[in-house]
């Protein structure tokens, strides 16, 4: 089945978008995995309509119930990747989660900002010089070489799988986290915490906190779940300072891909997330009338 719209994220932006697309009779699916930053907000006193304010958790959970009550399909599954499928001149989006694969005519990224950003010394300076966020895009440059993947979750394993047939060896670096269950001939797992990534103009070695070192040519960042930055980079969505660039219709540079809420930057308020979700939905309703 092809969904008219798949929304990634169940915070105020994603839920608001779904309310409008569903009411416009669009076949709508929400996929979410990590909880919204809203859930952690203790008391929200600046959002319209609550005389004594409301706690973030209640507002968040009520939003999901509201969407479900309206008939929106809501699934809690970890999203691993989004791919483009161009068929008959029409673009479809293929979303792979840990459990399923879904196809959509349009997608909305309402995925929030990533909380567990990699803060290892050297990462920022060596981006594009051996530090990569996309195994499928950049694996090619490391054919028969030794590479590393930073992370320990499903997303890190998905990136590792994209690399094992290309690279000579893949080292999964959990950076102090628990080792994942994963076995392959050319894969090793190191759980030691990382101090720094070093290299003159390109990645040369990883230095661990215990001062031991590992020589490597490429490092693929895949810590935690796939966040907006990783998903965007894989699809070719334009980013600015790691935020998704959108126009006033919440369109990204890719036709059929919309973004709203915290992942687009701005002032990170519930009210603006709701507004952006609404605009994204109305743009999609218009887009699908014209294109499909």
């Amino acid at each position: 089945m092809v969904y008219d719209v798949i929304i990634i994220g169940a915070g105020p932006a994603g839920i608001s978008a779904s309310l409008y697309t569903k009411r416009a009779n669009l076949n709508t699916l929400i996929i979410y995995f990590e909880n919204s930053s809203l859930e952690k907000a203790k008391l929200i006193e600046n959002y319209y309509g609550f005389e004594n304010g409301i706690d973030g958790k209640t507002l968040y959970e009520t939003g999901i119930k509201q969407a479900k009550n309206l008939g929106v399909e809501v699934k809690k599954e970890e999203l691993l990747k989004i791919e483009l499928d161009i068929n008959d001149g029409k673009t479809f989006f293929v979303l792979t989660t840990t459990q399923n694969q879904y196809i959509a005519k349009t997608i909305v990224l309402a995925i929030g900002t990533k909380k567990n950003k990699v803060k290892i010394k050297g990462v920022k300076d060596l981006e594009g010089k051996g530090i990569s966020y996309c195994a499928i895009c950049d694996g090619f440059f490391y054919r028969n070489q030794d590479v590393a993947v930073i992370g320990n979750g499903n997303y890190a394993l998905s990136e590792t799988n994209d690399l094992i047939n290309v690279a000579k060896t893949v080292t999964i670096l959990t950076n102090g986290e628990e080792a994942p269950e994963f076995r392959a001939d050319n894969v090793q797992i190191i759980t030691k915490p990382i101090e720094e990534i070093k290299g003159e103009n390109k990645v040369e070695e990883i230095i661990f906190k215990d001062n031991s070192r590992l020589k490597t040519r490429g490092i693929f960042i895949a810590q935690g779940t796939a966040g907006s930055t990783e998903l965007a980079k894989k699809l070719g969505i334009l980013l600015k300072d790691d935020k998704i660039v959108v126009n006033d219709k919440m369109e990204t540079n890719i036709k059929g891909v919309y973004a709203c809420g915290d992942c687009t930057g701005g002032i990170l308020q519930v009210s603006t997330a709701v507004s952006e979700g609404t605009i994204a939905a109305l743009s999609i309703i218009q887009f699908l009338k014209m294109k499909f």
Partner: protein, 102 residues
Amino acid sequence: MSVLKLGTDNFEQEVLKNNNKVLVDFYADWCGPCKMMSPVIDEIAETKTDVKVGKVNVDDNQELAVKYNVMSIPTIIVFENGIPKKTFIGVTDKNEILEQLN
């Protein structure tokens, strides 16, 4: 101007021996983000007629990719007098690139 196909055979003549700015897009056919960048490169070639714009397919020209440290695609390099002056890694805003061509 149309986008020039660059490779090891013509890179020296078209880029390194060129006294003006030359925009070079390193890409591959299988790279999704490169496909998003491709129409932008075409637009730049059409509007900036005073600048040479070319594309290097990294599959066919690995030595060029290695020479200019291209380890992620798309990578766009602006050459001036044959020397790389500015590198953009990943999908980049058209205006940001145009600023480097003025």
